[in-house]
């Protein structure tokens, strides 16, 4: 979105700023788009802006004069001006800036000089101007001429502007002879007549011979005329009227069908002309025709001299032509949709209307009304335009805008770094958004993983030294290590955290999923073991990918096969548990590391178990309760993953007992076996396992 505003102009040219400002709508601060004038105060606004404002207040925003929407009038001259100015703007701006820069370097020349010179530039007389001006100013002209040729071959100096300004066909040849002021109205007239001329030609099929000719002509008029005039030599451009007058004379001798042609071609513009100035030029040109009008009569409709023989045929054609243009005009001026009092319109009526305009009828009543209202507003605004958009286009636009409003842009989402999971979403939707999030942040994740890996390496090296000193000391070193890691960037913790999400989502769904997860964790363990033994951690992913479901046979290869077994089981559960907590920590980051990112999983898993390890210190049951506490106490666990040690004191005192009690109750309810003994036994076992595992964990983490 290229924003332009009046301050683009150098401060040394305040008048240009004023011009720029005057061509802007004071509601939206953009250049006027379909300018509408309020006749009573002559303030101009964009059609859409002022119509929208009229819904709030029926008055002119600038002077507070009372107006109704029906009073607004088109201001096509202003439209044309804006169009031209916007096209020319970059050039003028460039010139002004270079000039300004030069001015600042050298001696300052007055603004007025520049302005006058600029006007001259505009009117296509820069060459004259260059020769007249002092050397310094001629540099400006030099700039101008340097800019110009890049656009089009220089026929006349003003051409590049015009070529850009309009896709219209007004010929450039007149430019040298007619002053721009005189030129512009006729130009617009011709432009509009072209429009009117070509359009009806498409519609008509049932017409008589003469009319067919007329069509041919009108089509010629639309397409060929301009090319002929542009290709003609400079002499031909002396004045268009002359050429016009010449053609009828030469046609005098030719058969009837041909004779109809020139006259009709002249009727086309005059018949469709709306402004008086345009209609003056055509007859004026033909009236000056000397001699040739002896056996000619002037057509009362179009004022063109026609051979008396054919005056009736011509008149018929002429009248038909004007009639048709009238109807066309009516079609062109699209009818506005009248305003409605929504309270009185039943749902059915609204839906009918919306269907009629191809608007979707989804949503509640107020949404429908809002949509239809917006559509009517835009439709009515488009009615003012010279080439109004079709209703379908507008309908599409309205719906697009609505979508944009209801869905915040993707870019914003990415910036906020949020995963979009909402209430009432199905699992599939959640999964989908998760995947989207993952793919969107793949780079960041891989970066984080690399960081985490590097850190892991360092930790491992350290721990290998301290391990020999015994478990207590290891604890301490672990703590210190963790303290280190926790101080590292939050990003890395973010990468650690999301592990849970994977587990979580699946865990909520099915027990089987948890089993799958178990597999994963086991793999993980294997992975961890391998690097520890082999003292190389980079091969983790490879190892993981090679691994299959039968992990334990490998795992038991270690010294403590049984312990491993129990541990791994326990770990699975704890991991899933803790990961669940983590999920609660931050719903946003929840799903981030799903299966799609294997590396991420691998790395994160390694870090996760640190929280159970903490738990183990506090004894068997506390480990559980603490986990639960953390589950409830999201705020504490929101902190980074390696940090739980530091959080521990906070967690413990917070009603672990009640949580435990509740867990127990649930357990009892759910347990199929129903025996309290096995329950407590299992929890005891858990505690034991946790203890053992935590030691192992520490090793692994290192």
């Amino acid at each position: 979105m290229a924003l332009t505003d009046p301050t683009d102009w150098p401060g040394s040219m305040p008048d240009l700023r004023t011009i720029d400002n005057l061509l802007r709508c004071s509601i939206c601060f953009e250049y006027l788009n379909v300018a509408m004038i309020i006749p009573s105060c002559s303030h101009n606004y964009c059609s859409l802006c002022i119509r929208r404002y009229m819904k709030y207040k029926r008055q002119c925003p600038s002077c507070n004069i009372e107006v109704s929407a029906s009073e607004l009038c088109n201001n096509r001259t202003l439209d044309e001006l804006v169009k031209t100015f916007v096209a020319v703007r970059p050039y003028i701006l460039k010139i002004c800036k270079t000039f300004d820069a030069e001015n600042q370097e050298g001696c300052p020349s007055s603004d007025k000089d520049l302005k006058t010179s600029k006007q001259q530039v505009k009117s296509g007389k820069s060459q004259v101007f260059a020769s007249k001006q002092s050397p310094k100013k001629s540099t400006l002209a030099g700039h101008f001429t340097a800019v110009k040729p890049s656009k089009t071959a220089p026929v006349s100096n003003s051409e590049p502007y015009q070529a850009k300004t309009s896709a219209d066909d007004f010929n450039v040849l007149d430019d040298d002879f007619v002053s721009p002021k005189l030129k512009s109205p006729s130009r617009t007239d011709r432009h509009s007549s072209n429009r009117l001329g070509t359009r009806p030609a498409d519609d008509r099929s049932l017409v008589n011979q003469i009319n067919d000719d007329v069509i041919d002509i009108t089509e010629d008029f639309g397409t060929e005329r301009p090319t002929a005039s542009t290709s003609s030599s400079p002499a031909a451009g002396q004045a268009t009227p002359i050429r016009r007058q010449a053609t009828p004379r030469s046609n005098q001798a030719t058969p009837s069908s041909n004779q109809a042609m020139p006259s009709c071609s002249q009727t086309t513009p005059s018949g469709s002309q709306t402004t008086p100035s345009g209609s003056q030029t055509t007859p004026g040109g033909s009236q000056t025709t000397p001699g040739g009008s002896r056996d000619k009569a002037e057509c009362p409709v179009c004022g063109v001299p026609v051979p008396t023989k054919y005056i009736n045929t011509h008149l018929d054609a002429c009248l038909k032509r004007t009639q048709q243009t009238d109807t066309n005009k009516r079609i062109q001026k699209r009818k506005r949709i009248p305003a409605m009092v929504w309270k009185l319109v039943p749902d059915k009526e609204i839906k009918k209307k919306m269907r009629h305009y191809n608007l979707s009828i989804k949503g509640k009543r107020h949404e429908l009304i809002k949509r239809l209202d917006e559509f009517i507003l835009m439709y009515n605004a488009q009615c003012d335009a010279a080439n109004p958009k079709s209703a379908e286009e507008i309908a599409k636009e309205v719906e697009k805008m609505e979508q944009l409003k209801t869905q915040p842009p993707q870019l914003k989402e990415a910036k906020v770094f949020k995963l979009k999971i909402e209430k009432g979403q199905t699992e599939d939707q959640m999964e989908k958004s998760k995947q989207e999030y993952l793919s969107a942040h793949k780079d960041q994740f891989s970066q984080l993983i690399a960081v985490a890996r590097a850190r892991m390496k360092g930790v491992k090296n350290k721990s290998s030294k301290t391990e020999a000193a015994g478990p207590n000391q290891t604890d301490a070193s672990q703590d210190s290590n963790e303290a280190e890691t926790s101080t590292s960037s939050e990003d890395s913790t973010a990468s650690d955290r999301p592990v849970g999400s994977v587990t979580e989502n699946s865990a909520v769904q099915e027990l089987e999923d948890v089993m799958v997860l178990e597999d994963e964790v086991e793999k993980q363990q294997e992975d961890k073991r391998i690097p520890r033994d082999a003292a190389q951690d980079t091969s983790q992913e490879d190892a993981e990918s090679d691994r299959t479901g039968s992990l334990f046979s490998e795992g038991s290869g270690g010294e403590e096969a049984m312990g491993n077994n129990g541990e791994s089981e326990e770990m699975v559960m704890d991991t899933s548990e803790s990961s669940l907590h983590m999920k609660q920590d931050d719903a946003d980051l929840m799903a981030s590391f799903s299966g799609s990112d294997v590396h991420g999983q691998a790395d994160c898993r390694i870090l996760v178990p640190s929280s159970p390890s903490v738990a183990s210190k506090d004894g068997m049951e506390d480990s559980q309760s603490q986990n639960m506490t953390r589950a409830k106490n999201e705020t504490s666990s929101v902190k980074s993953d390696p940090a739980p040690d530091s959080l521990e004191p906070l967690c413990i005192p917070e009603s672990p007992l009640s949580v435990v009690a509740e867990t127990r109750r649930r357990k009892r309810k759910k347990q199929d076996c129903g025996s309290n003994a096995s329950d407590s036994g299992s929890s005891f076992g858990d505690g034991d396992n946790v203890l053992r595992r935590s030691k192992r964990e520490r090793k692994m983490v290192k």
């Binding site: 979105m1 924003l3 505003d5 009046p6 301050t7 004071s26 509601i27 939206c28 601060f29 953009e30 802006c49 404002y53 709030y56 207040k57 008055q59 925003p61 600038s62 507070n64 805008m401 944009l404 409003k405 209801t406 915040p408 914003k412 910036k415 999971i421 909402e422 209430k423 979580e504 865990a507 909520v508 027990l511 948890v514 178990e518 334990f552 049984m562 077994n565 129990g566 089981e569 559960m573 548990e577 669940l580 999920k583 609660q584 719903a587 639960m628 589950a631 409830k632 999201e634 867990t663 649930r666 357990k667 759910k670 347990q671 199929d672 076996c673 096995s678 299992s682 076992g685 858990d686």
Partner: protein
């Protein structure tokens, strides 16, 4: 699978996992509901209208390129153009001279059609500023709602006004309080009857805004 691998009896294990899942699930639901309580900004982002955003961007550009004297204003962050922060320095030659006051400007989603809201974050004592910092000047009132019933339509908000004009009006309001429409009655009374005292309080506020200790009396 579970049975085969675990040393524990199968049901035990299953139940354990199940319980974990259930416990967690309940708190998950809580958490999800909690996180769904969307911040107020979220709504502004949703309803961000294209026209309003474009116009705010233009105004921001103009304000940064040609800032009026003693005024700095801009959006708090580029994600949300509908919440601005403005810093206004007290106009010279008034009791607020030297002070630097922070204010928040909140734009409605249909911005140029409806006026923004302005609120001073720094403590203020002024006849036209409510105790909570809200600014009460006619340019911020849409024509139609006239809290005091005296403003002419001409001086109220219309889309042709701009942030710059609002801020300039606020500056001139600081310089010349309008004691007829007292938003802060105490301040307006004091302004009218005990100008000395008012000036003293104003000085205190200026010092406060600069983080200086109160002047020794």
């Amino acid at each position: 699978m579970l049975m085969r691998r675990s040393g524990l009896p199968p049901c035990d294990q299953c139940v354990y996992v199940l319980i974990c899942v259930i416990c967690a699930a309940s708190s998950v639901v809580e958490e999800v509901t909690r996180s769904c309580q969307i911040s107020p900004h979220f709504y502004t982002t949703i309803t961000m209208a294209g026209a309003a955003l474009k116009r705010l961007m233009t105004e921001y550009k103009q304000l940064t390129l040609n800032p009026p004297e003693g005024i700095v204003a801009g959006p708090l962050n580029e994600d949300n153009f509908f919440e601005w922060e403005a810093t206004i320095s007290g106009p010279e030659g008034t009791c607020f001279e030297g002070g630097v006051f922070e204010a928040q400007i909140l734009f409605p989603p249909d911005y140029p059609l409806n006026p923004p809201k302005m609120k001073f974050k720094s403590e203020m004592f002024h006849p036209n500023i409510y105790a909570d910092g809200r600014v009460c000047i006619s340019i911020l009132h849409a024509p139609g709602d006239d809290p005091m019933g005296y403003e002419s339509s001409a001086e109220r908000w219309s889309p042709v006004q701009s942030v710059e004009k609002i801020l300039l009006s606020v500056v001139s309001m600081l310089a010349e309080p309008n004691d007829e429409s007292g938003a802060n009655v105490d301040a307006s009374k004091m302004w009218r009857d005990e100008r000395e005292k008012f000036n003293q309080i104003a000085e205190g506020i200026v010092r406060k805004s600069l983080g200086l200790p109160p002047a020794p009396s």
